[in-house]
Symmetry: C2
């Protein structure tokens, strides 16, 4: 599998790169960014995945996430994929919450999405293999994952489905129960069809109800987030974790909204949380 | 003088805002951003100005500068103005290094620029008065200023012309001698005319040669910066400071380029440098 280097730039002692490749999973050209901290020749570092929210590409967190200083300090590789396939010939929707920029980290089974919207396979299988081949990554059986909003949903569901692979799972303002909120009902209905049984593998709260377990979780949520009560509903995750015995650290952050001003404020905490578990 | 609040968002305990106003100096609508750290009711904080480089608006450093954590720690207000007047009816040039996005922090005397390109008056007079009126700023006789590239030129020249007003001056990859490099010769010739005597007030090296003094200066410069040898030429500043007895700390940063990956890496150092002098 080959990758094209779009740009590299020294940052906080390491290298911030942007890369592109032809994805088999999506059948499109996909772009992602990787920050590799300064390290010894031959040294391997653990990885932290960051999955982005609606409308984002790799660039939003790469520009605004303020993760590089913390990743350099903790010597963690930071990977930021795109949120969907893109381009001519790829289905789209006029709304911001469906289609390009809104892949929801699922493998679509429904037309017109199925041919390209295979983001679950892309993020769970194809991209990790590509990363392992091209970057100085340590044990891919001990990864960390986080994400924001739709990407928080992605991080929680991928983490819950692969407890063997992830030592650390956290999220910023995640969609915790897409099957119970408008964004999720639209997207999962569109990508996976109207049989709600098929949605449960793509819903963190449903996965926990169905038996998925993780030792612990960190979630930050701004209490001035405009999407809090209708789309995010962290209380549903708190209830599910409580019943399941999952140690959820849910921090309601007073006055914070849904933007990168919120994410960047708490990014260093999530990197530290991941680093502690990756090397613990 | 009234300002319009375009957005505010909590970040690193403080408030990141974006504001707009009708400028008398430029005769246009101007946008700027201000970060105000968390502070006590009634408390006043010192200010650090950041002047941006070619093509930038207030948004580039606001998104990518990674200054908020350091400004919150040191309790310094961070102000990011635009780099020129903009809009219909404002003169422009097809090139990126002249016209809109390239005001060079001078008051243009030449047509077609003179009616709107009055960035020296805007940054030195009008905007400070506006800031003092609307934000919890401490003594405007003890400010700090920094900037990048064209904005580094702005910071150095404004600092050198007003040693009574600025306790701290620093720069990232500044154009130190616009009168001796292509970017500067084009811009100063265009805005100020071909009489080079008029350029000396807009050239840090010339100002020092002509007697301007500051106690000290911090300059960071990447040695992989593509503009280093032709446009930036920090050795000219080093020579002028040496002759003048100005304590220049010039740090050549190995492997760093001209981008915000460079700026954000060393931003916290510049905020700390400013804070030490503002409160020293």
């Amino acid at each position: 599998m080959t990758i094209e280097t779009m740009s590299t730039s020294k940052a906080h002692g390491g290298v911030q790169g942007v890369y592109a490749h032809d994805s088999e999973a999506t059948g499109t050209r996909m772009t992602f960014s990787v920050f590799v901290p300064e390290h010894e020749e031959g040294e391997k570092l653990p990885v932290l995945w960051y999955l982005s929210g609606l409308t984002c590409t790799h660039a939003n967190v790469t520009d605004k996430g303020e993760y590089r200083a913390a990743c350099a300090e903790h010597r963690v590789i930071f990977i930021a994929p795109d949120t969907s396939p893109r381009g001519e010939g790829v289905a789209n929707d006029d709304a911001y919450d469906m289609g390009q920029g809104a892949g929801f980290y699922v493998d679509a089974t429904q037309e017109p999405w199925a041919p390209h919207f295979q983001m679950r396979t892309y993020i769970e299988q194809e991209l990790p293999a590509l990363i392992a081949e091209h970057f100085p990554v340590a044990d891919m059986g001990a990864q960390a994952i986080t994400g924001h909003s739709m990407g928080g949903h992605g991080a929680l569901t991928i983490g819950l489905r692969h407890p063997d692979r992830f030592r650390s799972v956290s999220a910023f303002a995640p969609i915790v129960a897409p099957g119970q909120v408008p964004w999720g009902e639209k997207a999962l209905g569109g990508y996976l069809g109207q049989d709600r049984a098929a949605w449960r593998q793509a819903d963190a709260v449903a996965l926990i109800e169905d038996g998925a377990r993780l030792p612990d979780l960190l979630v930050d949520q701004g209490d001035a987030d405009q999407f809090l009560t209708e789309q995010l509903r962290p209380e549903l995750l708190a209830e599910a974790c409580d019943k399941a015995g999952i140690a959820l650290t849910l921090r309601m952050q007073p006055g914070y909204d849904h933007s990168y001003n919120f994410i960047s404020t708490f990014m260093a905490d999530h990197v530290a949380w991941a680093a502690e578990r990756l090397r613990g």
